[in-house]
C-alpha cells in the first residue's frame, strides 16, 4: 500500500511540471509588461527596459521556463510577487487556509445535505417524498450561486442583521458561504447518491441479505449504501477540489481572501510568480485529494485494495 502511495506521489511530479508549463505558456501570451507594472506609469522607458533585462524577461521562453523550474525544484524558490515585491508564498500561504476552509465548508454542507436525502429518495423511490426531493434538487441547480449569495446577504445581513456579509475572520463568517456552496453543490451529491443507491439496492446480494432476514435498516446501510459509496466519494472529492480554487463567486461576494480571488487579481496584474505558485499549489492539492479518494476506495472495497497491493 505504501508503495502504491509512493508511486502515486511520484506520478504527480511530471503532471505538475506539465501544468506549470501550460500556465507559463499562457501567461506569456497575456498582454502587459511586468516591469512596467512594477515601476508604475510614471517610470521612464529606460528604467523599464533595464528592469526587464535584470529580471531576465528578455531571455527566450524556454530559458525562462527552465530557470523557473530549476529555482522551484532545486532551491524551492518560487520567486517574488511583482505586485507586492514579497516572496510569493507570503500571500499564497495566508490565503490558502481560507480556501481550504471554504472548500471544507462547501464539501461538508453538500455531503450532509446530499447523502441523507439521496439515500432517502432512493429507498422511497416513486413516493411523494422522492418527487419532492427531486424538485428541490432541480431548483437548486437552477439557482445561480452569485444570486443565492446576494439574496442571503440581503436577508441575513441587511434585513435581519444577524450574520456578517464580508470577511473570513471567524466561523460565523463562513455560515452564509456554506449555505451558498451547499445549495450550489449539494444536488450533485444528492443525485449521485440516489442513482448509485438505486443501482445497489437492486443487486443480488441485497436480495441475499433479505433472504437471510437481515433488518431493512441494516440492508440499506451496510449492504446497499456502503456499496453505493464509491461514486459518491469521487463526487465529494471533486467538489472539494473544485472549490479550493474555484469558489471565486463566493470569495468575491463575501469578500473572503481566498486563493481563487488572488489568482484572478494576479492574472489581471500579470503577476506571473503568484499565478504560477497558486496554481501549482492547487494542482498539488487536487492530486492529493484524488489520492485520498482512491485510498478511501481501497478502504471500502477489498477488490480495489487487492489491486493496489499488487502494485
Amino acid at each position: 500500500m505504501l508503495r502504491y502511495i509512493g508511486k502515486r506521489l511520484l506520478q504527480m511530479i511530471p503532471v505538475l511540471i506539465g501544468i506549470a508549463f501550460i500556465i507559463f505558456f499562457i501567461m506569456d501570451f497575456t498582454p502587459g509588461d511586468p516591469a512596467r507594472l512594477i515601476l508604475g506609469q510614471s517610470a521612464t522607458a529606460e528604467a523599464v527596459e533595464q528592469l526587464t533585462e535584470e529580471m531576465g524577461l528578455n531571455d527566450s521562453f524556454f530559458t525562462r521556463f527552465f530557470r523557473y523550474i530549476y529555482n522551484a525544484v532545486v532551491n524551492l524558490d518560487f520567486g517574488v510577487s511583482y505586485r507586492t515585491m514579497k516572496p510569493v508564498f507570503d500571500d499564497v500561504f495566508t490565503r490558502f487556509p481560507v480556501s481550504i476552509y471554504i472548500a471544507l465548508c462547501g464539501m461538508i454542507g453538500s455531503t450532509l445535505f446530499g447523502i441523507p436525502l439521496g439515500v432517502l429518495s432512493a429507498v422511497k423511490q416513486y413516493s411523494k417524498l422522492d418527487t419532492a426531493v427531486n424538485v428541490v434538487a432541480m431548483t437548486m441547480v437552477a439557482m445561480p450561486p452569485f444570486w443565492v449569495a446576494m439574496v442571503l446577504i440581503l436577508v441575513f445581513s441587511l434585513y435581519l442583521g444577524v450574520l456578517p456579509s464580508a470577511g473570513a475572520t471567524t466561523w460565523i463568517h463562513y455560515i452564509l458561504p456554506t449555505i451558498t456552496l451547499t445549495l450550489a453543490n449539494g444536488s450533485a451529491v444528492l443525485r449521485i447518491t440516489r442513482s448509485s443507491m438505486l443501482e445497489t439496492i437492486r443487486m443480488d446480494y441485497v436480495r441475499t441479505a433479505q433472504a437471510k432476514g437481515v433488518p431493512r435498516r441494516v440492508i440499506i446501510f451496510k449492504h446497499a449504501f456502503k456499496n453505493a459509496l464509491l461514486p459518491v466519494i469521487t463526487t465529494v472529492g471533486y467538489i472539494f477540489g473544485s472549490l479550493l480554487g474555484g469558489a471565486i463567486i463566493c470569495e468575491t461576494v463575501f469578500a473572503m481572501p481566498g486563493l481563487g480571488s488572488l489568482i484572478v487579481l494576479s492574472i489581471k496584474m500579470k503577476d506571473i510568480p503568484v499565478v504560477m505558485a497558486s496554481i501549482i499549489l492547487l494542482a498539488l492539492s487536487y492530486g492529493v485529494i484524488m489520492l485520498i479518494v482512491d485510498l478511501m476506495y481501497a478502504f471500502i472495497d477489498p477488490r480495489i485494495k487487492a489491486k493496489y497491493q499488487r502494485g
Binding site: 416513486y126 443487486m203 443480488d204 446480494y205 436480495r207 441475499t208 441479505a209 433479505q210 433472504a211 437471510k212 432476514g213 437481515v214 433488518p215 431493512r216 441494516v218 451496510k222 449492504h223 456502503k226 456499496n227 471500502i300 472495497d301 477489498p302 477488490r303 487487492a306
Partner: protein, 343 residues
Amino acid sequence: MSEYNFNNSDKDGYVLEIKDLEVIYETDLETVHAVNNVSFSVRAGETFGLVGETGAGKTTTALSILRLLPDRTGKVTKGEIFFNGENLLELSDEVMRKEINGERVSMIFQDPMTSLNPIMNVGEQIYEALKYHNPEKKTKEELEKRVEETLELVGIPKKRKNEYPHQFSGGMKQRVIIAIALACKPELLIADEPTTALDVTIQAQVLAMMSELNEKLGTATILITHDLGVVANMCDDAAVMYAGELVELGTVEDIFESEDHHPYTVGLFGSIPNLDEERERLQPIEGLMPDPTALPFGCHFQDRCPYCFDRCINEHPQLLKLSDTHSIRCHLFSDKALEVNHD
C-alpha cells in the same frame, strides 16, 4: 416470542403446501402472469424438484414463499402458502424477517458471482444470518464458532472466513452461499438453479455436497433446475413448470419411469444433458414459450405441441390425476384420469 404459534409439523408431514398460487408482475405498461394456479407440497426432509425452462415462473414461485417479490410490481393475487400449517402470506413483514427468512426457510440464488456482498468478508456474511436469528442469545464467540463450523460443513477451511468473495472461485462462492443458507439449520431450503452458473465438473461437486448435507441435516429442499438429469439424481418428487403452470407433477419414479407424460416433459427428456455432448440449455423444444402478458386461452403449450388438437385451443386443460402421486395437465390423458384437480 411471536404472536404466531407454529405447530411443528402438519398432520400430513408437509413442511410446505402451496395452494392455487397466482403471481403477477404489474407495471404501467403490462401485466405479466408469471405464476398461475400452482399447487404442490413438500414433505419434511424430502427434495422436491421444480423443473422448467427460463421464464417458466420458477424463481417467482420461490420468491413468493419468502415474500421477496419486487416491492411495487410483484403481487400474489391468489392462493396460500402454508409453512408447517401457517399461511406465510398472512404474516407481518416483521415476523417474516425475524422468524422465517434465513431462520426456518432459506434460499440460494442462481448466480453465486453476484449473490455475495463484494465488500463484506464471507465470515461476516454467514455471521449476519446467525446474528439476526439468535433467540438463545448466544455470545459473539459462540456465533463465530458456528460460522467456522458452517464453513467446514460446506468444505471450506475455517481460516478462510476473513477472506472476501473475490478471493473465491465460483464453486467456492456457491459453497459460501450454501453455508449462509444452512447456518441457522432451516427446515426448508430453496435452491434456485444453484449450479447453472458453474462449470460442469464443479456443478457435480456442489450437487453432491448438497445431497450429502440434505441427508445429514434432513432439511427439506426445493431444488429449482432446468435439468431433468439433476432431478433424477437428487429428488424424491418433482414438478414440471411451463408458462406459469405445473404441467406434470409426481414422484421421481412417475416422472422417469411412467409411460405417461406431458408432451412438454417428453420434450425435456430429449434435452437431458449428456456430459460428452455440447450442453444445450435453453429451448430444448422448437418454438418459444407464450408471451406471459397474453397467455393463450387453451393449453399454454399448444403452439409447440406436436399432438395439439381442437380441444387444446378451445379448452384450458386441468391437472389430471393419473395415480395417487402422478398428475398431468393435458387433454390427451382425459380418458386415463382418476379425477380432475379443478383449478
